[in-house]
Amino acid sequence: MYGWLRTRFSKQTADILIVLWYALLMMLVLLYAMDPPAVFRYGNI
């Protein structure tokens, strides 16, 4: 992701964008980690 951002934007812009992107993802994780996770059984392993 960062690599791609660097090809489209300057270093400063890319840095800011990647931080925003990570922040967004982390928020999503925290938000939806609260929901009861679906029990994931992929065989008995």
């Binding site: 990570y22 982390m26 679906a38 994931f40 992929y42 008995n44 392993i45």
Partner: protein, 384 residues
């Protein structure tokens, strides 16, 4: 114990701190101790088994005298232990008893030990000592759910170990993406939102609902499993180790053979090398070897009818595709086959067919019993 718990980040934090702040030798011991403690706490039985496997595998494979026989012996014992647990669980399930769970990580470290044994036999192991072997097995990131990382690559990473900020940030990113896949994409978008949309469909769209359910389950399985793998691989990177990948856009592959080189890669490549090659070298019959391999993959998951069926289904798929390749050679190279449009369409079709073949197969194992799977198929294809 799963990576979604609150405890996991704490364990990893301890591991990462120790790895980069302690002097190298101590750091190595620290990681081993953490992994051992982790197993001892969450699955003492597994800890005992792993310790036994570790000593048995290493020391019985040391001397070169009768190495072949000793390796077969140890390998057989490991498989026996694994098979016993799988069979016991299968029996419990069949009789409705809530019995023991499989010891945490057994399925994975059993295969790692066998990998080590076979490579030892071939004389292909990088130079190492007992401590290196212990480090390889007692590696926290891949303990719970793989990938089934390889010894030589791990050993090489040990030899090259140094702080690398790029690798570390790659690890952080990977872990984050893994968690997003599990909590947001799998648990929410697919399991909740898509489920809601499916439930909103009326009874006259039962077939469509069943079809979408199939996709939902399959996608959920893919996202969860690849998410877990991402977290494991990312944690490995945080500790400075790059382990084998497990998924490489499997649902976008253009045939079933490519799919199996892109799905649960650490397992399928293990089976390709140790089951497929073994059968081929004895029988010289690739079709038989393919079936044996896919059956092994199925049984590794669970000793049950549905996994036997699923393994055979995939095995047959591969064999048929291989035959199709032979037949395809006789099809003339008409000029329109070279055009861009044709190629795109052909590729698209191939991906769609493969995707659906895989999804249909997943029904067998994502439904609790074979009977329910059949019912599911019926729901999808009314008039059958």
């Amino acid at each position: 114990m799963s990576v979604l718990s609150l405890a996991w980040p704490l364990w990893m934090l301890s591991a990462v701190t120790g790895q980069w702040l302690l002097p190298q030798q101590l750091a190595r011991l620290w990681l081993i101790a953490l992994a051992a403690a982790f197993l001892a706490i969450y699955s003492p039985a597994s800890a005992a088994i792993l310790v036994t496997f570790t000593f048995a595998t290493y020391y019985l494979a040391q001397s070169r005298r009768h190495l072949g026989s000793r390796i077969v012996l140890v390998g057989f014992l490991i498989v026996a232990v694994l098979a016993w647990f799988k069979a016991k669980i299968a029996a419990d399930m069949a009789s409705g008893v809530l019995g023991i769970a499989i010891p945490l990580g057994l399925s994975y470290y059993a295969l790692r030990c066998i990998h080590y044994l076979v490579e030892r036999y071939k004389g292909r192991l990088a130079p190492h000592d007992f401590g290196d072997f212990v480090s390889y097995l007692f590696f926290l990131p891949t303990l719970i759910a793989g990938p089934i990382h390889r010894f030589n690559e791990f050993q090489r990473d040990q030899r090259r170990m140094r702080w690398d900020s790029e690798k570390f940030s790659e690890g952080l990113e990977r872990v984050l993406y893994g968690y997003v896949k599990i909590t947001f994409l799998a648990n929410y978008v697919v399991s909740i939102r898509l489920a809601e949309s499916i439930a909103a469909l009326g009874p006259e769209q039962a077939a469509l609902a069943a079809y979408l359910s199939m996709l939902k389950q399959g996608l959920n399985g893919y996202l969860q499993f690849s998410g877990y793998s991402d977290v494991a691989i990312g944690c490995g990177l945080l500790l400075g180790y790059r382990v084998i990948e497990n998924f490489r856009w499997p649902l976008l592959q253009k045939n079933i053979s490519e799919f199996w080189k892109a799905w649960h890669i650490s397992l399928s490549s293990w089976c390709r090398e140790y089951v497929y090659m073994l059968v081929v070298s004895f029988t010289r019959r690739p079709a038989l070897a393919v079936l044996a391999t896919m059956l092994a993959i199925g049984l590794w998951h669970e000793v049950s009818l549905r996994y036997i069926l699923w393994g055979s289904y995939n095995g047959l798929g591969i064999v048929l595709w291989q035959q199709f390749q032979r037949v395809k050679r006789w099809v003339p190279e008409w000029p329109f086959r070279q055009t861009g449009w044709y190629r795109i369409a052909a590729h698209g079709l191939a991906v769609l067919v493969t995707f659906h073949f895989v999804m249909f197969g997943f029904v067998l194992v994502l439904q609790p019993t074979v009977a329910e799977a059949i019912a599911f198929y019926r729901a999808m294809l009314p008039g059958l």
